[in-house]
Symmetry: C2
């Protein structure tokens, strides 16, 4: 039977966090605690995804999800990428700014073959044929949307649920077109998407507390998806410099400086110095800055890293993931009861 959100013990989804923080241990802990854990397949080779799945299966028999990056559109203007590369020459050795599709088709086939319960897609709408293949393999298909128009497109492609991503969210905007990324606050977006489509909604973006979980349920969502709230979890592989930065009260900003795709991170030196020059050119710019970011990570240099973080990052807590899930669920119940008394 295809996974349904109503089967979750707690309406809490752990957001897939590509590029490091997501681990099989984190996803397993969240699913075991009664939420829904997620693996992030973006950036990884199909073999690495298969290894993560094996590790996850050893830890839990409960449902979980895997997130895929939809393939980007046409390659970016090489001149724009070259001009950006020229502004980065003092930063260190750059990578080759190549275009690729993150081996999307291979990973889709792998997830179908492995009968993954939930496949969520980000950065675009999967083709109706891809959705049908996943359905045939028993998967529920979720699509990340940032506008009501994207929600309509995803519904037409056959999505089973939508991840509604508010502008508050840390990391990449899931927008179908980075040239015009949806930048709507979560509550307004839930209302707009709920008016446009009938699908179950998973609310994402800046949710950090049980009261926030309660709020999106009241707004009509079937579950809340939290990323930053799990970045300090013991099971997350968030690097130490990133962990420390999350505890600061630095502001966040949207930027294309790190990857050529709009994403929200803590304001640091690299973001401040390069934001204005960065073109919309994903994945070319991600490959270009890859070595710089890897070196900064190794040096523990928070000023050279992409410090993805949602707008409520100061409320993230260091704890085992199961404790985070249980605390959020208990707080959410309390918040709804309080609100009902006030109304």
């Amino acid at each position: 039977m295809t996974f349904s959100l109503s089967r979750l013990e707690h309406p809490i989804v752990q957001a897939p966090m590509g590029g490091g923080p997501s681990t099989p241990a984190l996803a397993a802990a969240v699913s075991e605690a009664g939420g829904l854990g997620f693996l992030a397949a973006g950036y990884l080779s199909p073999d690495a995804v298969r290894e993560d799945l094996t590790a996850l299966h050893a830890l839990t028999g409960r449902p979980f999800g895997v997130n895929l990056f939809a393939p980007p559109g046409e390659p970016a203007d090489p001149g724009a990428v070259q001009r950006y590369a020229a502004t980065l020459c003092d930063e260190g050795e750059l990578g080759e700014p190549r275009w690729d599709d993150d081996r999307y088709a291979e990973k889709l086939a792998l997830l179908a073959q492995e009968r993954v319960p939930v496949v969520s897609v980000t950065f675009g709408c999967p083709a109706p044929e891809a959705v049908a293949d996943l359905h045939a393999a028993g998967a529920a298909v979720w699509v990340t949307v940032t506008t009501a128009a994207e929600a309509l497109e995803a519904a037409r492609a056959g999505a089973d649920a939508l991840v509604v991503q508010g502008v508050e969210a840390g990391g990449h905007r899931g927008s179908f077109d980075d040239a015009a990324p949806g930048q709507i606050g979560l509550l307004a977006l839930l209302a707009l998407v709920g008016e446009a489509v009938e699908l179950p909604l998973v609310a994402a973006g800046g949710i950090a507390t049980g009261a926030g979980v309660a709020a999106v349920l009241a707004a009509g969502a079937s579950a809340a998806q939290l990323g930053t709230a799990f970045m300090l979890a013991e099971e997350a592989a968030t690097v130490p410099a990133h962990r420390e930065a999350l505890r600061s009260d630095s502001a966040t900003a949207l930027t294309r400086a790190f990857t050529g795709r709009t994403a929200r991170g803590l304001v640091n030196r690299f973001l401040s110095e390069h934001d204005a020059d960065a073109p919309s050119a994903y994945p070319e710019v991600a490959h270009l800055t890859g070595p710089l970011r890897a070196q900064a990570r190794e040096r523990g240099d928070a000023d050279g890293l992409n410090l993805w973080a949602g707008q409520a990052h100061t409320l993230a807590r260091e704890a085992p993931a199961a404790e985070i899930v249980h605390r959020l669920a208990a707080e959410a119940r309390e918040a709804l009861a309080d609100a009902a008394r006030r109304l």
Copy 2:
């Protein structure tokens, strides 16, 4: 006895909408329906405010609020204003870009003398002495905040409640400093402000439905403040061109093009053409563009007007204000009950 939010029959506040839409009839209708209506004193002379108060008192004996603009900081760089004026020369005859404080002190004294139940302040934090004067006159003092730091400052000044304005909101950002306006989504901001201060919170920004009202109550707010949702009310004085634009699905954007202060409006020709050139220079730019906007309003030219609108504007409904209040309250109760069942 000072007004308390817990006295409201429905936790629904009508946002003050300066520059036109707010009327005594709208405020009275909302208060009579069990919400809290608001007059907008910004831009008006003290005499005009007094007339609005007289008109309101003739319509309702229930509590209401009046919103004041805190005085701006130092006059802007005249060169920056002149350069912007030069880019507007094809638009028509410009106004004198003068600095003024909107006769803040006179209006404060008037509101104290008239024993207005709730005085809300936007664009800055009132001095502790001003708060004390209003308290002595029996008024509750609310301060609009867009960051946790502003919330702390308002609490220290003696505010009785905070209007927590998410980035979704239509019209001006209430930020204390327009050079760095808070741009945090409402749900995240409620969590951050709730962690920083103990005051009752009035949530504002992109709330358009009863489910949205329920959501902010679940998130910890004592009431929801809605502006755009009342702009199509029969009692609002929203001009026809603005009403028609609100019904379109145009996107909104933040801009300083119209007033020199960051505000959210529907994207139209004037915004698109002048946004990039506009300096942070309020109220100078507001006076500069005043005649242009007045003429556009007279011509019914939606492309020359500041079309303030929140991010959920397509959900605003044409109806008497009392009907809007009652519908929101009924939907909110239903939404909370549904959410409790789902949890």
